[in-house]
């Protein structure tokens, strides 16, 4: 895997508690990478270690295979969870200031920013003062200020908090568009819906530890545990006979749906799913067979409760 960012055995303690305990993970280049975890799990601390706002007690952070330096951080686009803008400045002026600080020329900064303001429907805020903006409005400005210099690595801490569903969607689309243009995006969240929609990879952090890491598809499949939901017309005896030891019914999950029996079965990995389908099809009037893939929300809750 071509990793743009590698975190190796990072630990960080504050007086009296451990915020990160031997966390390792790899962020593939061009991915949208979700850092999940309950409140206080250590997501923000991990992000602050990556952005060098906090120093790790031990472990390394590698960018493109080399230890991350202060200079590298200046090219990262970072949006902190607690947004900060200068209150007395005008919106446009402020956005230009941040863009120039990130290395853009004055003219180019303004040109790009005007484009972004148009895209996010906030062109008429250009001359307004930041103190007059609502929280969501200020967040849009901050988002633009974070991405305007098109960094190859973007880090957002809770980017969707404070947004209504319409603006959250707008933001999701922009994040995906940035990914498509070649950026790698890391963001922390506990909004699981957004994870399913836009993340390619995730790491789940709980109690300062990395408890689950990988591509979203694989994790969900793995969490599903090769369970399948089947709809058929047959008696229990016929059904068990048809399965013939290839699969085990999960008894408590029986029900009726539109005249069909709905049942869950477990097919061990070494069995061929096709054979099961063939057998059920022949003797049980099989209507459908679907792999049960849990939602990220289920996985999150199960993982945090320690049942994965």
């Amino acid at each position: 895997m071509d990793a743009i960012l590698k975190i190796e055995n990072v630990s960080k303690s504050y007086t009296g508690h451990k915020a990160l305990n031997d966390v390792s993970l790899e962020v593939p280049r061009g991915a949208v990478y979700g850092l999940l975890g309950p409140n206080g799990a250590g997501k923000t601390t991990l992000i602050r270690v990556i952005t060098r706002i906090t120093l790790a007690d031990s472990g390394r952070v590698l960018l493109d295979g080399k230890p991350l330096t202060a200079k590298d951080v200046f090219h990262i686009g970072y949006m902190p969870e607690e947004r900060g803008l200068y209150k007395n400045m005008r919106v446009g002026e402020q956005a230009i200031f941040f863009a120039r600080l990130k290395g853009l020329g004055g003219k180019e900064a303004e040109q790009r920013l005007r484009g972004w303001f148009e895209r996010l429907n906030i062109s008429d805020w250009w001359e307004r003062k930041v103190e007059d903006l609502s929280k969501g409005m200020a967040q849009k400005v901050q988002f633009i200020a974070t991405v305007v210099h098109e960094p190859k690595l973007l880090i957002f801490d809770e980017p969707f908090s404070g947004f209504d569903p319409i603006n959250a969607n707008l933001l999701k689309e922009e994040i995906l568009a940035l990914r498509d243009r070649g950026a790698t995006v890391i963001f922390s969240t506990h909004n699981m819906a957004s994870v399913e929609e836009i993340c390619d990879h995730i790491t789940l952090i709980n109690k300062a530890q990395n408890i689950l890491s990988g591509s979203v598809d694989e994790i969900r499949r793995a969490a599903g545990g090769n369970n399948f939901e089947v709809l058929y017309r047959a008696t229990d005896e016929e059904f068990i006979a048809a399965l013939g030891g290839m699969a085990v019914p999960i008894s408590e999950s029986r029900g009726m749906v539109g005249g069909f029996v709905q049942s869950r079965i477990h097919i061990p990995k070494d069995e061929d799913v096709k054979l099961v389908i063939a057998a059920l099809n022949e003797s049980c009037g099989l209507r459908s067979l679907n792999e049960v893939i849990p939602s990220m929300n289920d996985i999150f809750i199960r993982a945090v409760n320690g049942s994965i």
Partner: protein
């Protein structure tokens, strides 16, 4: 450098564009002039009216020679007793009080002033000096000197000391530099106060700016875009530029006043009539070149003093979470500034005393103490040495402050461990 420049211009423009900046810049000179004029105006209007005093003279010498002054007129009632007079000339009579003079004037409690309302220093001074003069004269008379009045008139002397700086010139070529301790004194106070105000005013601006940036969390974005050193220097220099802008405007106003307004106010007739003292004073106030030099030194010491204290303020601002918390650090920083103010006062007694000299070399007190000494005419090498020490200390202080700043700005909520502090200092 580019980042420092960007931060400087942001800090500068944000402040200079504020309405409050423009108002204060224009109002300050008016306020200062008002402050200078106010005491003389107060003197003028607080001058009390003439008071009527009833005199009972048992000695027979004083009352005849009392004369009407700006403070009092006298009514003689030698025939009355003290208690009678007190009854008649009570509060309703409009009389201020009763002056009772016993038979032997310079005996203890012999001269008494019984007033209907509270007495005034000026009046007491006026009466006692008159009586003193009368009694002294009477005593002289006992020696039977002929033409006493004539002799007394002849020996009356009034000296005005004209002071010059020894610059190698002689009186003949007219190049001698006249000075005036009075003017130096006033200039010293004004300059010292100005520096004190500026260090506190703008130094605290740096502190506030850092604390606000921490509180509003802009700091997280800033430090992932530039180094803490750049951020700190950008702030300090940006605010220094605001200070210099303001001082430049004030200097321009004062300079044009000394060039056009002062000569108009003090025409040459007044100057020649005023004698040597006034001459020196006018020479100082109306000498544009001298004032320009003073302002140049002032700018250098303000800049140096400000930079030194601003780095302290920035470091302490970075170490706290709110303005309230910053107060305790503030007090510590203010100590040397207060100390300088106290030492500044001793400078006026002797600008070249050891304490004045050393405190104008020690960087934490030198800006205020030295600027107060300069109007008295200090050798250039002393000024240059003081400046060099000041600026070297500033550089060392900035280095240290930047380290503290780096650690301080992230001590937010969660307590930073000593271990982390150490890690940052090693960076």
């Amino acid at each position: 450098m580019r980042n420092i420049y960007l931060i400087i211009s942001r800090e500068y423009l944000e402040r200079v564009r504020k309405k409050s900046f423009i108002i204060v810049t224009l109002l300050m000179p008016i306020l200062m002039i008002a402050m200078m004029v106010a005491p003389s105006l107060m003197m003028l209007y607080s001058k009390s009216e003439q008071k009527q005093v009833v005199v009972i003279d048992r000695s027979g010498v004083v009352a005849d020679n009392l004369y009407e002054s700006a403070e009092a007129t006298f009514i003689r009632e030698d025939g009355m007793s003290k208690s009678e007079a007190c009854n008649i000339y009570n509060e309703e009579s409009g009389i201020f009080g009763i002056l009772y003079i016993g038979e032997v004037v310079d005996a203890r409690d012999s001269v008494q002033l019984i007033t209907n309302s509270s007495s005034s220093m000026l009046l007491e001074e006026s009466i006692s000096s008159q009586i003193e003069a009368i009694v002294e004269r009477e005593k002289l008379k006992e020696y039977n000197i002929e033409n006493l009045d004539e002799i007394l008139a002849k020996i009356e002397t009034n000296i005005e000391l004209a002071t010059f700086v020894n610059n190698g010139a002689t009186e003949d070529d007219g190049e001698m530099e006249s000075t005036s301790t009075g003017v130096s004194y006033i200039l010293g106070i004004v300059l010292g106060m100005l520096l004190y105000m500026i260090i506190i005013l703008y130094g605290q601006m740096v502190l506030t700016s850092v604390v606000e940036e921490k509180a509003s969390r802009v700091i997280d974005v800033m430090v992932t875009s530039c180094t803490p050193f750049q951020l700190m220097m950008g702030k300090i220099i940006g605010i220094a530029a605001v200070a210099l802008t303001q001082i430049a405007i004030w200097a321009l106003l004062v300079l044009s006043a000394s060039k056009f307004v002062m000569p108009m106010l003090f025409t040459s007739d007044i100057a020649s009539a005023g004698g040597a003292l006034l001459d020196g004073a006018l020479g100082t106030v109306t000498d544009t070149g001298y004032i320009a030099t003073l302002f140049a030194y002032l700018a250098l010491f303000i800049l140096g003093g400000f930079l030194l204290y601003a780095s302290l303020y920035a470091a302490s601002g970075s170490a706290v979470d709110s303005i309230q918390d910053s107060q305790q650090y503030n007090t510590v920083i203010m100590l040397p500034i207060f100390l300088s103010m106290i030492i500044m006062m001793t400078v006026f007694n002797d600008p070249n005393s050891p304490i004045a000299f050393w405190c104008s070399m020690i960087p934490f007190t030198s800006p205020i103490v030295m600027i107060a000494r300069i109007p008295f005419g200090i050798p250039t090498w002393e000024i240059v040495t003081s400046l060099v020490i000041l600026y070297l200390t500033f550089i060392a202080m900035t280095y240290l402050a930047a380290k503290i700043f780096r650690v301080g700005i992230f001590m937010h909520g969660k307590r930073t461990s000593w271990r982390e502090l150490w890690l940052w200092l090693k960076e």
